[in-house]
């Protein structure tokens, strides 16, 4: 008899535990590639969501390059590793076509965002993702104290830029005028994009994205051959160095300039010592928002949509306060930004905001671009071969 009672109790316990809301607390998983200081800056956003909704959120780090491998196989198995996933817009767009992405139409009001911000994750009238804050890639960062100590000033022409590099190169203890960040390759692509936007113009950037102009076109080739290659040949750019290490070395005085996105303001010890300038004659600056989506295989579709909507709206205000981010949500007040970021935002005045070229094209071309730039950086004499490969891959 006692055994029967025990069995009944056990069955009842299992049944109760199986009830929704009792078996396991609802917990959403957010995935992005941010780690270290970038992750630390993002966590308050998730905490704000938890506080507002009472829904727990778990955070996992996956680089976009790894997600590109992992997600297609998971989608085929009708599963997903997270409920809200930050990923390249082209990837979201591609997999939305195959039904692996939940529709976000109606959860976000396009009018509340800067024009075009949601376009990369739109297909017809349907919205398949949300947009988070963006990072501006404004140009070359320097330490104000370093410039002051060595009597350096921001250049107004390309010739002055060359001269500035020459002066920095001659300073004792300097390894190279400009630190070249490396990772999988994106820091070099950011530099190349800035040169294209500055000396070929925003229209050419758009034409390259749309594959309406060849990489071997004289206009594009001239940017590489007449602007970038002379700097590389003069040794003003360092060899590609892992970008976080490059940042430390630059901050420590091994290099004078460092090309990086606006998130750097949240990664250095003293943001007030930061100065930045765009290439002289710059006509366009990359403004690259981060995109996220809800996979169709989430266990909690409504809660996940709610989280993505929060990230795209109120979450942005929390994020910009930590520094290094520019909101795409227009309702974020200017007062929310730290002072240094208001300066970055000022650089956008009078220039065209451009999408990130390699992130927008994506696919096989993207790693080819990174890889060819790594080759160009150490063998600038092979510029023709680099452009030929980029064009072949673009076809």
């Amino acid at each position: 008899m006692r055994r029967k009672i025990l069995v009944v109790l056990l069955v009842a316990l299992v049944a109760i535990c199986s009830l929704p809301g009792v078996a396991a607390e609802k917990k959403l998983t957010v995935i992005s590639g941010w780690s270290g200081p970038e992750m630390d800056a993002f966590m308050p956003v998730l905490s704000a969501f938890e506080k507002e909704t009472g829904i727990k959120v778990d955070y996992q780090i996956y680089r976009a390059e790894d997600l590109a491998v992992l997600l297609p196989a998971q989608f085929d198995a009708k599963t997903a590793p997270g409920d809200v996933i930050f990923m390249w817009a082209w990837f979201v767009d591609k997999h939305a076509e195959d039904g692996h992405v939940l529709d976000m139409t109606g959860y976000l009001n396009e009018a509340d965002f800067i024009p075009g911000a949601l376009d990369p994750v739109k297909s017809g009238d349907k919205l398949y993702g949300g947009v988070f804050t963006g990072k501006v890639k404004p140009g070359f960062w320097y330490r104000k104290s370093f410039f002051k100590k060595h009597g350096l000033s921001e250049p107004k022409t390309f010739l002055e830029f060359m001269e500035l590099c020459g002066k920095i190169q001659k300073i004792s203890g300097i390894k190279a005028a400009i630190a070249s960040g490396n990772g999988v390759g994106w820091p070099l692509s950011d530099i190349a994009e800035h040169f294209i936007a500055s000396y070929a113009g925003p229209d050419v950037t758009h034409a390259l994205i749309d594959k309406k102009i060849s990489w071997q076109d004289p206009v594009v080739a001239s940017v590489f051959k007449d602007r970038l290659v002379p700097l590389l040949e003069a040794g003003y750019f360092s060899e590609p160095v892992e970008w976080t290490m490059a940042q430390d070395l630059w901050w420590g005085g091994d290099y004078g300039l460092f090309f990086m996105g606006s998130w750097i303001t949240g990664m250095v010890d003293d943001p007030d010592d930061l100065g930045v300038f765009s290439l002289p004659e710059c006509k366009g600056i990359v403004f690259a928002p981060d995109y996220a989506f809800v996979p169709a295989y989430t266990k909690y579709p409504e809660e996940a949509r709610q989280l993505l909507a929060f990230l795209s709206t109120k979450g942005q205000e929390v994020q910009v306060t930590t520094g290094g981010h520019i909101a795409t949500y227009t309702k974020v007040p200017l007062s929310a930004y730290p002072g240094v970021d208001r300066g970055v935002a000022a650089l956008l005045d009078g220039v065209v905001a451009l999408p990130d070229l390699d992130d927008t094209i994506g696919g096989e071309w993207q790693p080819a671009f990174w890889d060819q730039l790594k080759l160009l950086w150490v063998s600038p004499d092979r510029v023709d071969e680099v452009l030929e490969t980029l064009q072949r891959k673009a076809k």
């Binding site: 160095v241 990174w370 150490v378």
Partner: protein, 290 residues
Amino acid sequence: MGQTRGRIFFFLPALVLLAVFVVYPVANTVWLSFQTPDGEFAFFRNYADVLSEPEIVDLRGFKRGFPYGALIHNIIWIVIHLPLTVMLGLILAVILRDVKGGVLIKSIVFLGMVTPMVVGGIILRFLFDGSVGILPSFLALFGVKQRTLTAHPDTALFALIAGSLWLWTPFSMVLYSAGLETIPDYVYEAAVIDGASPLRIFFLITVPLLRPVTGVVVTMTFLWVLKIFDIVFVATMGGPGGASNVLALQMYMYAFREFNPNAAAVVATFLMIVALVVSIPTFRALRGDN
């Protein structure tokens, strides 16, 4: 009859697992390599397309230097890595056999083998880094310009091959060490009594008696190099400009960057055929030896 049934009973689960997890995926991959993305039969068109891509074979490399294409890079890797692994493993095993503290030294050497290849790749990246790497700093002592060896097309592949030697030589050392234990002491004693020098003993006794082990080391090393992926992916991603690209990495690029499973299947099938062509005769020869 009962014994046969019993054998079948125990054999069947393994057979089913092999069929599901090995035979079917292999057959499906081969079939995929003959299909277009639309599922039509393409005969050898995929093979012609893939093998004629500069990412696989780039004959311009013979004029201007790296890259030569993933296939040539794999061949270079095998040509350099295979004999060095065999020789270094054998020499280390022989030298450390009777040395005081040999076990400890072997354990230290073996650390390379137990290091996960991905971690090994990251270590290589820093080992060869121009700013913080040990090797460029060491070479600088001899007047060699300090630079990141994995960042330059003329040194990237060789740097990775050197790194792979560190990671793989312990494997051959351990096999040779085990092989040496199987050679009876009296064979050496007889040779010493006959007045053979240590060098003659090494070449006329040790090396021939270790032939089966050499066969295993050669085959396993060949297969390992043929499918090498992780350290390249982590250390250089095949760059710069494809200068350290290898077949397995190219297969990954086809599959997960181009989302072209057919091209990836061509490379996979090609690798499988080469692996079979090399390993089957070697194992047959070893069986004959036994």
